[in-house]
Symmetry: C2
Subunit: 401 residues, 2 copies
């Protein structure tokens, strides 16, 4: 640094004190460089990507609609895609019009824009514990504080929620992941959804519902979004094409009341003007040409088999050493070791044995999950899963002793 008249030597904004390298990213870099079976990543399996269809679609777009696909576009998104998403969400039970949809660069951006629209420094966010790490990091950057709702096999407990909302100063935002939550894979039970929706609406607390994994359901019938179950004018529901088409085109969305979405679109414009014109058109045409449902069916068949392989391998190798969640969809499950066994120090031993996971502590906004670990069950083949879980069991057995 040159000599400075500034009182402080670092001119970064105060919020940057809450923005840190992601522990998970460091782990993923180490894992990627190692030759191990990785249950650590958050990646879908690229072997299952509809690359050939996407290639044909992209070529068609650039042949017939190249200028629009390469030009600037509206901040809100391509109108036909907003309309398609609105129709899709109405099938899920949400009362959404095309004007109530904002296309974003993945659902991460939808979460970030919602946080930016709602959170002042010191505002409290009420969220599940554990919860989605990248959302917590976003809330951190807006200098939020946390109140947490423990999660059991049926999700958060509405009685806990009502307790938290009862005070004179309710939290500013309720953030939930009702379907196959990252990192637990847990689904909020049908009978709890209505109670959660009603409690948030009655308290006038904006609901931020991330449903990124909605279509990756392997058992049972789809459940209605919480945002569909009570009139909450500030509710924002987020989703993505990253898990059903591909992540590399960065197409997701936020949906809600058109007046609220219009405010988010103003933020979107100053953030990056608009989402990729080409990426949006690729997603749209993929859906319009009928590729989405077969692709979802293909993914669900493959991922269901892998989930089953992991549950079966856990029963075989880990029973008695730990407990685990049994996801009905999504990509992850959470393993819980006996209290007092910190999983972070186990990772180097596991990687030496040939398998990787993510220590769970980082997913718990107020601590308490150091004895848990997250396993991705969709990235490896069933045979790799069997081997990986066996190797992991060896490491756990040594630690549990």
């Amino acid at each position: 640094m040159p000599k400075s008249k500034h009182p402080e030597s670092c001119p970064l904004s105060r919020r940057m004190a809450r923005v840190a390298p992601s522990a998970i990213m460091e782990i993923l870099k180490a894992v990627a460089a190692a030759d191990v079976i990785s249950f650590a990543s958050g990646l879908p399996d690229p072997e299952l990507y509809p690359t050939r269809d996407l290639r044909a679609i992209t070529d068609e777009i650039l042949t017939t609609d190249g200028r629009a696909a390469l030009q600037y576009g509206p901040a809100e998104g391509v109108p036909a895609l907003r309309e398609w998403v609105a129709g899709r969400l109405r099938q899920r039970g949400l009362d959404v019009s095309p004007e109530g949809v904002l296309i974003t660069h993945g659902s991460q951006q939808a979460l970030d824009l919602a946080a930016r629209a709602f959170l002042d420094p010191g505002d409290r966010v009420l969220l599940e514990s554990p919860s989605y790490l990248a959302a917590i990091q976003t809330f951190d950057s807006y200098e939020a504080e946390y109140e947490t709702l423990p999660v059991d096999g049926d999700g958060l407990d509405p009685a806990d929620l009502r307790d938290r909302l009862r005070g004179a100063a309710p939290p500013k935002l309720l953030f939930i992941l009702p379907n196959f939550q990252n990192p637990t894979g847990v689904t909020l039970a049908a009978d709890r959804r209505q109670a959660v929706a009603a409690a948030a609406a009655a308290a006038g607390v904006p609901l931020l519902e991330d449903d990124a994994y909605h279509d990756l359901r392997y058992d049972g019938e789809p459940l209605p979004p919480v945002a569909a179950l009570a009139r909450n004018p500030w509710a924002i529901y987020t989703g993505t094409f990253s898990k059903t088409i591909v992540p590399g085109i960065r197409v997701g969305y936020a949906a809600g009341n058109p007046a609220v979405i219009a405010r988010l679109a103003q933020l979107k414009q100053i953030t990056d003007l608009h989402s990729s014109s080409l990426g949006q058109r690729i997603a749209l045409r993929f859906c319009q040409e009928g590729h989405l449902e077969p692709q979802i069916a293909r993914l669900c068949a493959a991922y269901r088999e892998r989930r089953d392989a992991m549950l079966s391998a856990l029963s075989t190798h880990v029973a008695g050493l730990a407990t685990w969640t049994r996801p009905r969809g999504g990509m992850f499950l959470l393993l819980t070791l006996p209290d007092g066994i910190d999983t972070a120090p186990l990772l180097p031993a596991a990687m030496k044995a040939g398998v990787a996971f993510v220590p769970g502590g980082t997913f718990f906004p107020r601590g308490g999950g150091d004895h848990t670990l997250r396993l991705n069950f969709v990235s490896a083949t069933p045979a790799q899963i069997e081997t990986g879980v066996r190797l992991l069991a060896g490491v756990i057995r040594k630690a549990v002793g």
Copy 2:
């Protein structure tokens, strides 16, 4: 709204009071719907887009590298693209390594991330008046205050800058657009650049330099970036492929000290994880295969002719009614009418006459430019430009009359 226990009925964050619909966007929507010659937009001419090359390149990427192009990627960007950009910027005189480059969704996102990294509410930004509207809007959203530097035909005056930096509490950020500035088209003179760089560095004030139009130069030799002329460890230099390749793929960048860029990358990750894997690869391959220089030459030839057509039409039709800037590059020039003539109320009459512009007041962060208007000279053909300027002159003549 349902009955609420909240003290306020609106739960939006305080910053949202500073986030409003863009006046320009409303104008552009009205203009797009009308049958007029538009000098209002900020759009490059899609007739000049290298659509065929981009189609071939995209097909090649999806054939040979489809999985990576459709998968998640690193927050910092595709390594080969970071390396390419670093090499390009070194040619401009900047001392940049690949680790000092962050790939963003357009340069707008680079500006937004920089503002997010530096600005706390109430922080003062020192910037040119007029300046780039979407940057002002971004700073607004971080609740910044402004100090302004008037711009003459050679850009800002370094003596003014030194005055502003002299106080006990210098501003938090210096934001400049040295090349063909939007909205004036003015270029910061060579002899002023060194003085500007030295003044900011001596005061320890971070420099944010937006050079989106660098390659669109129609006369004279390229000038070195201000960030290259003094050691300013917090300097951030932003650029984009939107003006040289196409905007629809949303690929831009921020460059600077690797330690500072690493902090911006942490913000990028929580903002939208990473930039489009496909878009980044399209830009990279376009550059690697040697398409960039011919495309820039093609754009410059066409845009130079249009700029000349507009300057010539202004001389013919507007001389004596107004003054105007004479850009050596970029896409815009600024017309100044006699003091007291507000250009905003002239727009409806102009559109009725068949021509559109953007009233200039909105580009002046602290006011004072109501008698100016911005003209885009690259979107229309030379013949349309001649007609449009003639129509505009009629409207101005009536107002000045």
